[in-house]
């Protein structure tokens, strides 16, 4: 057999497009957050809360990723911010080229903060760089405290962990200290914040963290 050396990352194409996206974001003065989580942990509600908090003080644009429907874009669009819906038609994650293609619908020069809400999935989106400045992983207290150990890559690759729905803590069997401990075992540098979109708890702290990161 003849051996032909390749030595190329499988995701080299995605990574190259992600680098183009990152350069475009930087050149346009846009700070980009890639928000990842399981389905139903409250990403869209957090996006709504963040938009409400800044109330026009920051120019926010949103890219919504879903397997089907533009329901999230409709929800976020009600707050009068530019929003693009990516429908993956079965795809379990966003890829850099999908984000790149959607950027033509946004005015990046007029954007300070771009939030990309990834497809709800705690596995596949971890491997795909979109060109973001940081990944924000969201987990709700109903999901249980063992998730960082079961789905480590997402927690390893994120800069901040948002523990959402903390208003439900009295009703669910979630050891929040254990959840944090597990998350820090996987990523000792992880910043951990607690929020509730229902009560509004922790939203100020989350938005302060985002603003300081910009």
């Amino acid at each position: 057999m003849e051996i032909i050396k390749i030595e190329r990352k499988v995701l080299a194409k995605n990574d190259a497009i992600a680098s183009e996206n990152r350069k475009l974001f930087t050149d346009s003065g846009v700070f980009t957050v890639n928000m990842v989580s399981s389905p139903g942990s409250g990403k869209t509600s957090l996006v709504e809360r963040i938009i409400q908090h800044f109330g026009g003080r920051l120019n926010i644009s949103v890219i919504e990723g879903d397997v089907q429907t533009d329901l999230d874009a409709q929800r976020v669009g009600a707050y009068n911010v530019p929003v693009v819906q990516i429908i993956t038609n079965g795809g379990c994650h966003l890829e850099a080229n999908l984000v790149k293609d959607s950027l033509s619908a946004l005015d990046l020069v007029k954007t300070d903060l771009l939030i990309i809400e990834n497809v709800g999935n705690l596995v596949c989106p971890a491997g795909y760089d979109l060109g973001e400045d940081m990944k924000m992983v969201v987990i709700s207290v109903t999901e249980g405290d063992d998730k960082p150990l079961k789905y480590p890559k997402m927690f390893m690759n994120s800069k901040v962990l948002v523990i959402n729905k903390v208003d439900l803590l009295p009703y669910v069997n979630c050891n929040i200290a254990g959840l944090k401990e597990n998350a820090l075992k996987v990523n000792p540098d992880l910043v951990i914040l607690e929020t509730s979109c229902t009560s509004g708890a922790g939203i100020n702290e989350l938005c302060d963290f985002i603003e300081k990161s910009i």
């Binding site: 032909i4 190329r8 990352k9 995701l11 994650h93 971890a126």
Partner: protein
């Protein structure tokens, strides 16, 4: 299920690396996959087979080399292979560690029939 899109990326790279007439001669595509790359080898093999059947890469198979999860400790300087996903030094237990390997997802080489 992102293994299907990874299989497509692998095929694209192989097609870019060889002239079209050489593709049916590919027997092995050697991959390096880290323990925590998030790739399920069985799913990748299944996806690859599903989309290469009856194509010019019909005879090609994936050969997967697993790369272990390995940390270097900044405190005691030891290199260890702790049980993933703990980012704690396998020697002294410190969290002050850097990842040396385990995240690889690479096409290393192709083995093709010689003329």
């Amino acid at each position: 299920m992102h293994e299907l899109s990874l299989a497509k990326d692998i095929i694209d790279t192989v097609k870019q690396s060889l002239p079209a007439e050489e593709l049916p001669k590919v027997r092995k595509i050697v991959l390096e996959i880290g323990t925590y790359s998030g790739v399920v080898s069985d799913s990748l093999n299944f996806s690859f087979e599903a989309i290469t059947t009856d194509t010019e890469l019909n005879e090609a198979e994936l050969e997967i080399i697993e790369i272990p999860f390995r940390l270097k400790c900044n405190l005691c300087s030891n290199e260890t292979e702790p049980e993933f996903p703990m980012m704690l030094c396998g020697n002294c237990g410190s969290s002050n560690t850097v990842v040396l390997s385990g995240d690889e997802l690479k096409i290393k080489e192709l083995k093709i029939l010689e003329n």
